[in-house]
């Protein structure tokens, strides 16, 4: 911190951090590497990072009665095409997008007006509502999964998109966050809008929303990362219908039905699921770190 960092201690720090980085990177290395390799290379741990990429015979294709020459594949291409062929991965990815997008949109739709009302409007009972928000902040949704599941089952809603989305439509954290943000917006801005004859509804969407874009973006990242990666809740409410699987459920299904011969394709699936967020993170690190650590703003 102060001036006396010798080159030696600097090097030592790097050494420690590099060892840590290697351990952190290890599974990513395995995932990328094995998604490119042929099965025999994976089993014998040969072929280096990329594998030899020699043509290999797809035994399953031979079993279907094709000639061996027609079943030659390049391992990397084979793994990634298998990922889409063995399971409806595109469908899973689409489900993931639909679910995460709906969750965020509804969360914003509910939270923004509520946050505006709590921050800027005066009405009897406002403090009570805000108190309720603070109390609800204490309840982790995963912890009440069982009663939520029973309620959804009673309504006949398990195995529907609704069951994937509904429990997350209310983000008390979103309300809290946006309310804190709106508190900092000057009253003059709102009064000026009222003078112009805007009603409260258009004030929320035309005046407050544009000022809140940075905070909302951070919240969007927080929400999307949490729900794209969520495995527990989809596992609970989607029991049979594969058409509703989200990407993590799809990967789990793949793993469960695996006989060990298609590790390459499984790693390819994992890659496809993990990559979008990692790439987005690498491109906009600051925003992501801000969004994910939002909870630290309390």
């Amino acid at each position: 911190m102060t001036g006396h960092a010798s080159p030696f201690s600097e090097a030592l720090k790097h050494a420690v951090l590099i060892i840590g980085a290697l351990i952190v990177i290890l599974p990513f290395y395995v995932m990328v590497s094995y998604s490119l390799k042929a099965p025999h290379e994976i089993e014998t741990n040969t072929g280096g990072f990329f594998g030899a990429q020699e043509q290999m015979v797809d035994e399953y294709c031979v079993k279907l009665g094709n000639a061996r020459e027609d079943c030659l594949e390049t391992p990397a291409i084979f793994n990634y095409t298998q990922a889409f062929k063995k399971a409806p991965l595109l469908r899973y990815l689409a489900n993931g997008v639909i679910v995460t997008a709906s969750i965020f949109l509804i969360q914003a739709l509910v939270a923004l007006p509520c946050a505006y009302a709590l921050a800027k409007l005066k009405f009897w009972g406002r403090d009570m509502v805000f108190g309720m928000v603070l109390v609800c902040l204490l309840i982790p949704v995963h912890a009440i999964a069982l009663p939520l599941y029973i309620m959804l089952a009673k309504l006949g809603l398990t195995n529907t998109y609704a069951s994937l989305v509904v429990p997350w439509t209310i983000s008390v954290f979103g309300i809290f966050l946006m309310r804190q943000f709106f508190k900092t917006v000057p009253d003059d801005l709102i009064d000026a809008a009222r003078m112009d004859g805007m009603n409260e509804f258009s004030i929320v969407w035309k005046v407050m929303l544009p000022t809140a874009i940075p905070a909302l973006l951070a919240f969007a990242i927080f929400s999307v990362v949490a729900h794209w990666n969520d495995y527990f809740w989809p596992r609970v409410v989607i029991t049979g219908d594969r058409d509703l699987y989200t990407p993590p459920l799809g990967l789990r299904e793949f793993r469960g039905g695996s006989d060990g011969s298609d590790w390459g394709a499984m790693m390819a699936t994992a890659m496809i699921i993990v990559t979008p967020l990692i790439v987005a993170f690498l491109m906009a690190q600051k925003r992501f770190i801000e969004g994910i650590t939002l909870t630290g703003m309390k």
């Binding site: 911190m1 509910v110 509520c114 005066k122 009663p147 409260e200």
Partner: protein
């Protein structure tokens, strides 16, 4: 309440703003705006807590027409039957290992990175990667990396056999003589390996929070400490950095503990609670007992205990924060 309409025209500088504007358009809008949120909070967050509390005293099952009240049977089972005491042990072990380790590593990484002259951001990016990646996907990759025979970890360990490593570690020699651990299949290793993945996944998050906390430590404090004779790095840490990070630590502690209680993905995907229930953590128990086996009563009881833990921790945090962990 129904005051004269004239009051609503008295805009910003009303004499008695709060009461007189009770029916102003703004306050009507206020009710309209909070109504959906209140409704959803009641239905999705408050009602389930009450339902769980009620069901924990019953023998309810989905599909049964009725149920009986069974008093505190479910709770008694939870603290007497070996399945559930093993569950509490597994969850407690996980929390007590993952929380200190991921906080310690997060803090250590943050301090090291913060004191570097260059490349700090590089390590920060790498350490944060596991936070972004879907834990379920990474759990499957770890499972494969730690596979007893074809996994990269054990193969690498085997390649070290016959070298000096065998001399310096009995554990290593034993691994070479017979075999290296089965990791997830061995009841002596499974929970620790699950803990390891939890630490691997979570410490980057804590690191980022600590890095943010460190930017808030005023440099003058270090100079002042130096004048007072705090020369060593340890003194500076003990006297300035650590106390100044108090609020961050309390927050990190709470959030990491609550998250650790919720561990599920790794257990469900890799061990299924085994071997011999050593990794049978609470969230997995709720899932397995209540949702897969339809034993709602006991699942609800676990839910209630779980919520009690979380509430207790949060109140403890609030109490600590109010009781001066803040030094500025």
């Amino acid at each position: 309440m129904a005051v004269d309409v004239a009051a609503s025209s008295a805009l910003p500088v009303a004499v008695q703003p709060a009461r007189r504007r009770a029916l102003a358009p703004a306050s009507l809008a206020g009710y309209a705006f909070v109504a959906p949120a209140i409704l959803l909070m009641l239905v999705i967050l408050v009602a389930p807590v009450l339902i769980a509390a009620a069901l924990s005293f019953t023998d309810y099952s989905l599909g049964n027409p009725g149920f009986d009240w069974v008093g505190t049977d479910n709770y008694e089972k939870m603290f007497s039957r070996s399945t559930y005491t093993k569950m509490l042990t597994a969850s407690a072990t996980y929390v007590l290992v993952v929380v200190p380790a991921s906080i310690g590593l997060g803090l250590g990484a943050a301090l090291l990175i913060n004191s570097l002259k260059r490349f700090g951001d590089f390590y920060k990016t790498i350490y944060f990667l596991p936070v972004m990646a879907a834990l379920l996907a990474m759990a499957i990759v770890w499972e494969f990396s730690l596979h007893p025979t074809v996994g990269i970890v054990n193969q690498t360990l085997e390649s070290g056999c016959g070298t000096f490593l065998e001399q310096i570690s009995d554990w290593y020699a034993a691994g070479c003589a017979r075999n290296f651990p089965l990791w997830f299949g061995d009841r002596d290793y499974a929970i620790w390996t699950i803990c390891f993945i939890g630490i691997w996944q979570g410490f980057g998050f804590n690191m980022v929070l600590y890095l943010a906390g460190l930017t808030g430590v005023p440099r003058e404090l270090y100079q002042a400490a130096a004048i007072d004779g705090a020369d060593s790095a340890w003194d500076r840490f003990r006297l300035v950095t650590w106390p100044m990070l108090g609020p961050t630590t309390v927050f990190v502690l709470t959030i990491t503990t609550i998250r650790s209680f919720q561990v599920f993905d790794t257990v469900e995907a890799i061990t299924g609670g085994g071997p011999s229930k050593t990794t049978y953590v609470m969230m997995f128990a709720i899932y397995e007992k209540a949702i897969k086996h339809n034993l709602i009563g006991i699942g609800a009881a676990i839910t209630v205990v779980f919520l009690a833990f979380v509430l207790f921790l949060t109140f403890l945090q609030r109490w600590l924060v109010e009781r001066r962990v803040h030094y500025t």
